[in-house]
Symmetry: C2
Subunit: 338 residues, 2 copies
């Protein structure tokens, strides 16, 4: 028999579970992972018209789980965020409704690491500009002089697993590592040869290259702003007048885009590359027309490898959950499961 009901205790209240769940997938999922869910006996709807009647929903960043959206999904027991950031989920509303929120924190790390390094090198070597010029029939070799990353200081805003991965490649490129991360155990930074600064201003004062790797919270909102950018000197640790460079593949809103545009215009920033924007999709964003800006449309986790890993991690997590096992990556821990 398919329906084997089990019980979990959420805030002391027994919740009935079935090992055959109705799962809505709103922003896509790797095909192999969907197959895994189906093979485990679950039903999967890849194009749900609403979340009403579903036991679980798998989202990426596009779906917004507002209090309203949560209220309209009375059967929901699990929100699975296929990815890392949960700022598109109202965690309080989910917790109040007894809904567990889980993400897949490690699966996209390497993909974001590689995009970040790619953006840094594309910025300092004008790769997007060069290709655009070539396609327009212009051999702009003389105007495309860049600078090296080697010999410069990179400053990480947030030094979690992605920043640590970027740091390892940055070290191989000859960079010196600095970071601001008030939540990081000191031994982690030591192991990565990264100097942690208690005052974020020191990171901006020391570093010519800033890479953002923190979540969007009240604390980090517009942490990269006119004042912090103004602290940067533009002179590399090796003495090169390399200008200041900013990259973010983290989350829109940490970077004040109005301040960045101003800094690009007045030369405080030599370049900026963003994969994430304050408003997405980023259309008609004035940054997109600036010659010293280049961007990508939130593709940090958009690799075959990451999507495969995310899908499998999410499928395993859902299968475990509906079998009565607590997933490892619970975001709203106050929803207790026994």
């Amino acid at each position: 028999m398919k329906h084997v009901y089990q019980y979990a205790y959420v805030d002391g209240v027994a919740i009935k579970r079935s090992n055959m769940a109705n799962i809505a997938v709103t922003d896509g999922m790797a095909a192999d992972a969907v197959t895994k869910l189906l093979d485990a006996g679950h039903e999967v709807d890849l194009e749900p018209s609403s979340l009403d009647g579903f036991d679980a929903v798998v989202i990426r960043s596009a779906t917004k789980m507002t209090p309203d959206a949560i209220a309209q999904a009375p059967n929901l027991k699990l929100i699975g965020r296929a990815g890392v950031g949960v700022d598109n989920i109202d965690l309080d509303a989910a917790t109040d409704a007894g809904i567990l929120v889980c993400n897949t924190p490690g699966s996209s790390t390497q993909s974001v690491v590689e995009l970040t390094i790619g953006h840094m090198l594309a910025s300092t070597r004008h790769i997007a500009t060069a290709d655009r010029d070539l396609r327009q029939g212009n051999w702009t070799k003389k105007s495309l002089r860049g600078t090296e990353l080697s010999g410069k200081r990179i400053g990480f805003i947030g030094f979690g697993r992605i920043a640590q991965g970027v740091g390892r490649v940055a070290r191989a490129l000859g960079m010196e590592l600095h970071a601001f991360d008030p939540y990081l155990p000191a031994h982690v930074a030591d192991a990565e040869n990264c100097e942690i600064h208690a005052d974020v201003a020191d990171v901006f004062r020391l570093c010519t290259h800033i890479s953002v790797h923190c979540n969007l919270t009240d604390e980090t909102h517009h942490l990269i702003n006119r004042d912090t950018l103004a602290l940067m000197t533009g002179i590399g640790a090796d003495g090169t007048d390399c200008g200041n460079h900013l990259v973010s593949c983290a989350r829109g809103g940490v970077v004040d885009e109005t301040a960045v545009l101003e800094a690009l215009n007045n030369g405080v920033l030599a370049s900026c590359a963003l994969d994430v924007f304050e408003v997405e999709p980023a259309i008609d964003n004035p940054l997109l027309n600036h010659p010293n800006f280049h961007g990508t449309p939130h593709i940090g986790a958009a690799t075959k490898e990451a999507q495969q890993r995310i899908g499998f991690e999410m499928a395993d997590l859902i299968i475990d959950f509906f079998n009565g096992t607590t997933p490892n990556s619970v975001v709203n821990k106050s929803v207790l499961i026994e």
Copy 2:
């Protein structure tokens, strides 16, 4: 007195030298390096109308030192190639004329390393395409799925100092290193954790990512061609169907561009990025219109740091030469200096 004549012996013939030389600079030189030459008592012409009457010429890749050009510079004693490749210099004609040819082999290494890694990541993550799409108002997130470098094999065609530098970063990115280089001492490759293959075909069979780092010679001309590309499997060492990727920041002509265009069209290549072309400047090159191609206009050494290092190395070399000291980086060693 300024003119202190000295003598050097080229193929047994005494050549008169002055420590005040007339130096033509045809393709630009870092300002500090020019100053250094002037301070040493030399005369420098940054916009020579011909090479007649000059004792030395400093060139980059744009100036072609053909037998004709050499014949028209009867006073020339030194051709300084500010950079690495000397395929734009007719070495036999220079040697016959008793002209020493020197380059600055190490000065641009790190800049080319960084551009190569930048191109690899820009290719596999569609950075140039993404930026172009964004500027046209299109948020093409769904069509821009890429693949990771981590877990893949990179195959180096030539494993000199630039490839070794790329290899160190590639290892930090999680890649496995393979190379074809018949001239490399085995211990060098061992020290870099790179497997050297005696048959170049094995590199293409094993690797999904090929990076070109050899000189252009009769032996290497069109080494990357329809047949060698056809050996590539498109399946990464980690099992990912990542397609095949080609990068060259070495020298145009090693890559058969007609074969590359065909391979991009029929899917044998998932991407190609070139900094160097068979004909430069590359205008109206059909590759430039391909969606899976991106390029840069021969900017491998185009960084402030490299130009500064190249300029100083060249200035020192010229000053030493006209003081009677043999430069370290003599390319046509049969022009002997005593």
